[in-house]
Amino acid sequence: MGPLLSLSQFWFLCETVAGVGMFLFQAAMALPPPDPQFVLRGTGAPVNTLHFCCRNQEQDKPLLFSGSANGAVHVWNLRTRRTESVLEGHGGASVLWVQTLNSRDALISQGRDLRVCMWDLAEGRSVVTDSILTESMGFCQCSLLDREGGHWLLAVPGADMAAVRVLDLPSKTPVCTLKPDAKLGMPMCLKLWQPDSGSSPLLWAGYEDGSVSLWNLSERSLLSRLACHAEPVMSLDPGKLRGVSGSSEKAINSWTLDGQQSLKLQDSVELVNPGISHLCIREDRRILATAGWDHRIRLLGWKKLKPLAVLQYHTDIVQCVAFSDHDVPNKRLMAAGSKDQRISFWSVYNQI
């Protein structure tokens, strides 16, 4: 019998074996991205916005509110993973934004029927107690800020194309109207913010022309403006003194606010596919999640904007992401709502 393998064949084999070994090694090192923990279906329409309410749960009933394009706000019980109730208050017009006021019993929702509705959900009720006309036809979400003593500030896109109105709740008295001098286009996203030091609340606004502005509410003045995107700003999250914004282009930008109250571009991450519809920094400021037009959810380390994972499940544009506010950190979930009418839940980086 002759030699079974020629030398070259032998080396080839060795290489293959080594390659397979290497592959296995790498596979073991880099865990595959996780699957969703579970998925909620049944909204019957694209999901526009999500809001968790898991804190202070007396009855162990974590809730999630979702607003969808058919005008319904679904209240999901995350324990049974089923809808508790469906709130129809916007006459079928798409719901852009939902938020709770302090407790799970008071809800505020913004619809494209130009109304912001206040809901009373206590003791199984579901009635609209009050509503505010927004006068804006755009897609810009409102923003809410809790002031001490049962008062809230609500930022609403104004009737005038570029203006933002700020109201006091529950009195509904206007506090101010902020209108930039320069032509920035419509506001695309708003975020009210109470800095630790200064007493005056601030407003972050992202505009159609790609700029992010910071307004001082008490002085009604523009503090700073940063042209950080070439396309409209789709979403921003100010974090603390360092925020992040996403637009319809291929980049996510982070910026900082320095001592002189001026904005500086800090960092930028290039994406494969354009379009960020929503982004959100986790409460502990470690993780940034983005909802992409490419059907993917991206997770980045907030500190250095290091890409961590790409979560793939949805079959259409992901429209919103949200982190749950569970008291216990390892129960915390991330949820993403998509145009494919599903809400996916992910358990990511929550083992501390």
Partner: protein, 1071 residues
């Protein structure tokens, strides 16, 4: 005879007789006295008592030998007097007592009974009995005072002798009963004087002297020959325990302030001082006797004896538990062992006793009791495995009954006992060993679930079936298993659930050897903790809180359904599947495809792991049963657990192994019951969101969850059309997943698609029976003359029309029936307006699309499956011709490939699909069939005809035969459906071919298979007739009129040949 009431008169009448009797004590005289006495009233008798007794006593006392008969008469008479009167003076009592005793004892040896007749002895014993009953007031107590002790002792020893050694049962029982009377605890109906404490104590003290004699003698009786009858045993036991209770009564002894000993002389020596040492000593001796007695009696065949054991235990335990310390353990054991007795009376009495003991807080308040009980339990569990291995079923039953009894009697203190690690260890190990299952049965592994669509009905049937019988290594009796289950439930009921679940979960994880048993135990523990299926005799107790129960259920369910414990190897088919296609192909090519291939296959898979697979199957089944049981235990609270538990159960419901799928269905049924769903359908529909969620997620990781599609198919087959809107979403996912992995997973998906479309076609949207299902041509039910007339008229007209070629037209075979009205073709209405299709139609369309692609897959098995699905798709789509026809058009080329260039099996299936297509698409296929398919089919038929004609009986097992049969059977219907009559040439061609099969040399089934002719007859009877007659014509046709030509057919005048018989049959049918 009038009753004489006046004592004077009575005296007058008695005097002569008494005098006579004194003078001549003969039987006759006694009889006379007796008759006289019967005429006296009781009061008169009482007054004359001493007078009457005098001659009788005199007769007894006279010295010298007496005849038995004479004595008998005298004693009976004395007894008679005593029963009707009472003895008022102590002297009389004493004298009578001693006189009667003398009658009993033998003159030579006073300790032994006299060798007299049994009748006499009986009479004396009864007289003694009567004497004691007749004693008035407290004078009887004098009998038990120390001076009387020798006489009393003599009487007692005599009675014991009689009870022990006599042959006559009557005498034995009488003696024993009399003994009982001596204890002044007779249970006859007469009124008895109740004794005060002091008197009782006196009695007790006296009998203490006789205790050794009585107890030993009686225990000999009890342990004696079984043949002596139960009555003797029962009374012996009764006297035994009554004596013991009297002497060893705790109450007496605790207060027994020993009286200063009065100087009694020699008699004093007989007295016993019941000191502590004496009590202890006696207790020990009694325990020995007791153990002997219990060993004999607690398993006694007669229930009355066992009942007496209960009484004995009850009395001794309640009155003497402090004094008979050593006996408590055997007594409890006896009692506990009878808790589950087969006799209802014994059982209920036993329960009563135990209950009253519990009420008196005898057990609870007495740590010693618990110690003894747990000690007993420990030793029992230690010996349990050995007993279960060696003893017979009856013994096993009683051992387990005992075990159960201990648990019940310990009640809530079980948890305290279990807190001792040694106990828990023992019990669990014993259970593990006892519950070891027998996993050698091959059938368990072999039995397969059928994939047929009529399963809906089957299910209900399956539901009725009880859970699968389990086989155990160490016992076969079902009752034993039931008892073990009960035992575990009681453990769960009383024990600390958390501790138990934790412990058995550890065992479950520890080793595969214990896993099944541990799961069995866990299931019952939780059922027991919820108070399910417990016998009523179990004492009340607060149930475990729902929260704890839920926590336990959750953790156990999680463990059960975890990947490692849930996805076990249960079948060797999967590994085989890869090469099975190659294997089957080679096999199919061989001519003889024997019917036992299934057997071959299974034997091929019969590798050493069969036991393992069996064991795995059982484990899954037990776990499934457990989940069902948890649902029942937890009730509606279990609904929340459905999020995780329902999917795995459904996954198993779709398992191929029959046993598993049955168990899973059982579990589903239990879940329905527990969670309050009315039916499986409700369960599935209302929880479809959970299921859909899991399916959708798992579809993305098919390699890890290969059985995901199964869940969907189980959902489909157990629900109805209302499920469809809930799963449309997921069906899309399935189709998408199929598109992603065409190769490896396609077979799994095909199963789902098959069940889905099958459900559409058969159950959810059954097609209304369309007119297509019948043959289009009107049946030959018409009036013949009328038809003739019409035909002739028609013929005439045609002839007129076609002047020139009238000669050709005259040919009969070209004559056609008037064509039926063409199908209204609504495909013209165009795609301009496209109404939304019902979801099932669009799904069927999409599925059909996939089928078209998969039709040319390289795996035969898959192709066959796809053909099945395709056929179903066609059935579903038949109501929407606009959708069906384009799809049929696209499906045609690959289908033709299957029909013409494929494995015979595939050809067979494809032919069936084509028949269905023919039924639904009709005209649309006519040209294609006659062009692409018919020539091939007919060609092969022609080729095979001589083969089948020559072949032997084995031929009917070949595929070729089946093929022939199928084609012959289908061809007719196909021709009929496609209206091939219009293509006369094809029809004729088909006819000619089928003629081959009319030969009587063909296998009979093929000839019957020639119903093709019946169809053809409907299509074109004339042409068939002619063809048949060409081959063989039985009659000759004489022209009715000379102007007509004589009919000449080529079959006329032929010899009988191979076709004759069948042709005749057909022609007859055509008439």
């Amino acid at each position: 005879m009038a009753v004489i009431d006046d004592p004077r008169e009575a005296f007058g009448s008695l005097r002569p007789v008494c005098v006579l009797l004194t003078r001549e004590p003969t039987v006759h005289n006694v009889e006379r006295l007796r008759t006289q006495l019967q005429g006296l009233s009781d009061s008169a008798l009482q007054q004359l008592q001493e007078y009457i007794l005098f001659p009788l006593r005199f007769a007894l006392k006279t010295p010298g030998p007496k005849k038995d008969s004479q004595l008998l008469a005298v004693v009976e008479c004395v007894a008679y007097v005593l029963t009707s009167t009472c003895v008022q003076s102590w002297e009389l009592l004493r004298d009578l007592f001693s006189e009667l005793c003398v009658c009993l004892c033998s003159p030579s040896n006073p300790g032994k009974p006299a060798p007299v007749s049994e009748e006499l002895k009986t009479a004396v014993v009864q007289a003694l009995d009567a004497l004691l009953h007749a004693a008035y007031g407290d004078i009887v107590l004098h009998l038990f005072e120390p001076p009387m002790m020798p006489a009393l002792g003599l009487a007692i020893s005599l009675l014991l002798e009689l009870g022990e050694h006599e042959k006559s049962r009557k005498l034995q029982t009488a003696a024993l009963k009399c003994l009982q009377v001596f204890l002044l605890q007779c249970d006859c109906s007469q009124l008895h004087r109740s004794m005060n404490e002091e008197e009782e104590r006196m009695l007790g003290r006296t009998f203490a002297s006789f205790l050794p004699g009585i107890t030993q003698g009686l225990s000999r009786v009890v342990t004696g020959d079984v043949k002596q009858g139960h009555a003797v045993t029962v009374s012996a036991m009764r006297v035994w325990f009554k004596t013991v209770v009297l002497v060893m009564d705790e109450k007496q002894l605790s207060k027994d302030k020993e009286k200063p000993v009065v100087e009694l002389g020699r008699v004093g020596e007989l007295m016993v001082q019941r000191t502590k040492e004496w009590v202890k000593d006696t207790g020990g001796k009694l325990a020995v006797l007791l153990k002997k007695m219990l060993a004999c009696s607690s398993g006694h065949r007669h229930w009355k004896v066992r009942m007496e054991v209960v009484e004995l235990s009850s009395h001794l335990l309640s009155r003497c538990h402090g004094t008979l310390v050593d006996s408590i353990s055997p007594l409890l054991e006896a009692l506990v062992g009878l808790v589950n007795d087969e006799s209802l009376e014994v059982r209920s009495r036993c329960d009563e006793v135990l209950k009253s003991m519990a009420e008196q807080n005898l057990i609870g308040g007495n740590q010693a009791f618990i110690d003894i009980l747990s000690e007993n339990l420990h030793s029992l569990t230690t010996s349990l495995p050995r007993l279960m291995r060696s003893a017979d079923d009856q013994d096993k039953l009683s051992t387990l009954n005992l075990f159960l009894g201990y648990l019940k009697i310990l009640g809530p203190r079980v948890s305290a006992v279990l807190n001792s690690a040694a106990h828990l260890q023992r019990i669990s190990k014993a259970l593990m060993q006892v519950l070891e299952m027998d996993v050698t049965d091959v059938r368990i592994v072999e039995e397969r679930r059928f994939h047929n669509e009529a399963r809906g009905e089957q299910h209900t049937e399956l539901l009725e079936r009880a859970t699968q019988k389990k086989y155990f290594r160490y016992f076969t009796d079902e009752r034993i298993f039931a008892l073990l289950q009960q035992l575990c439930r009681v453990l769960g009921y009383y024990g600390d659930l958390y501790l138990l679940v934790d412990h058995f979960m550890d065992l479950y994880r520890e080793s595969v050897v214990y896993r099944k048993q541990a799961a069995l135990v866990l299931n019952e523990l939780i059922a027991g903790a919820a108070g399910m299926n417990l016998e009523t005799s179990v004492g009340q107790k607060d149930l475990v809180s729902q929260e704890n129960l839920k926590a336990a259920v959750t953790s156990v369910t999680e463990e059960y359904t975890s990947l490692v414990n849930w996805h076990l190897v249960t079948t060797s088919v999967e590994s085989e599947q890869g090469d099975s296609t190659a294997f089957s192909q080679s096999r199919l090519l061989s001519i003889t495809m024997s019917a036992n291939t299934d057997y071959l296959k299974s034997s091929a898979g019969l590798n050493p792991t069969i036991g393992l697979m069996n064991s795995n199957i059982w484990q899954i089944c037990i776990q499934l049963e457990g989940i069902g049981c948890f649902a029942l235990a937890l009730g509606p609270q279990f609904r929340l657990l459905l999020i995780t538990a329902l999917y795995p159960v459904l996954e198993k419901a779709g398992d191929e192994t029959l046993l598993i799928s049955q168990a899973a269905l059982g579990a589903m049924r239990d879940i329905c019951k527990g969670c309050g769903y009315n039916s499986l359908k409700d369960l599935i529909n209302q929880n479809s969101d959970y299921l859909v969620n899991d399916i959708s997620l798992n579809l993305q990781r098919l390699s890890q969850h290969p059985h995901t599609p199964r869940v969907l198919s189980v959902m489909i087959s157990n629900s109805d059309a209302s499920l469809l809107p809930l799963v449309v979403d997921i069906i899309q996912d399935v189709l998408m997943a199929l598109d992603h992995c065409y190769d490896e997973r396609a077979p799994v998906f095909c199963v789902v698609l098959h069940s889905l479309i099958g459900a559409f076609a058969v159950r959810w949207f059954p097609a209304e029976t369309s007119s297509r299902n019948e043959c289009r041509n009107p049946d030959g039910e018409r009036d013949l003359p009328e038809e003739m007339t019409r035909f002739l008229l028609d013929y005439h007209r045609q002839r007129q029309v076609a002047e020139g070629n009238a000669a050709e037209e005259a040919e009969l075979e070209d004559t056609e029936m008037p064509p039926p009205a063409p199908e209204p073709d609504d495909s013209e209405e165009g795609p301009a307006v496209k109404p939304e299709l019902p979801p099932h139609i669009s799904i069927a369309k999409e599925v059909m699309e996939r089928c078209i692609h998969l039709l040319s897959d390289k795996s035969l098995r898959l192709r066959l499956k796809v053909l099945d699905v395709l056929e179903l798709c066609v059935t579903v789509l038949q109501s929407h011709e606009n959708e069906l026809l384009p799809m049929a058009h696209r499906a045609w080329p690959p289908l033709v490939q299957r029909l013409t260039n494929d494995d015979p099996l595939a050809v067979l299936r494809a032919f069936k699909v084509m028949c269905t297509l023919g039924e639904t698409c009709g005209d649309f296929l006519r040209r294609r069939v006659s062009k692409d398919v018919l020539p091939r089919l007919t060609g092969s038929l022609v080729k095979q005809a001589p083969v089948s004609a020559r072949a032997g009986p084995v031929y009917t097992h070949t595929l070729a035969y089946k093929m022939q049969l199928a084609v012959l059977q289908g061809l007719g219907a196909l021709c009929c459906r496609l209206d091939l009559g219009k293509q006369a040439a094809e029809l004729h061609c088909a006819l000619l071919i089928c003629l081959h099969y009319l030969s009587c040399r063909q296998p009979p089934k093929l000839i019957i298979g020639c119903i093709v002719f019946q169809h053809l007859i409907q299509v074109d009877p004339d042409s068939v007739w002619l063809t048949l007659n060409e081959l063989y014509c039985p009659n000759s046709y004489e022209p009715k009129h000379s102007s007509l030509h004589a009919v000449q057919l080529s079959g006329m005048g032929k010899q009988r040949n191979e076709f004759t018989e069948n042709i005749l049959k057909l022609l007859q049918e055509m008439q």
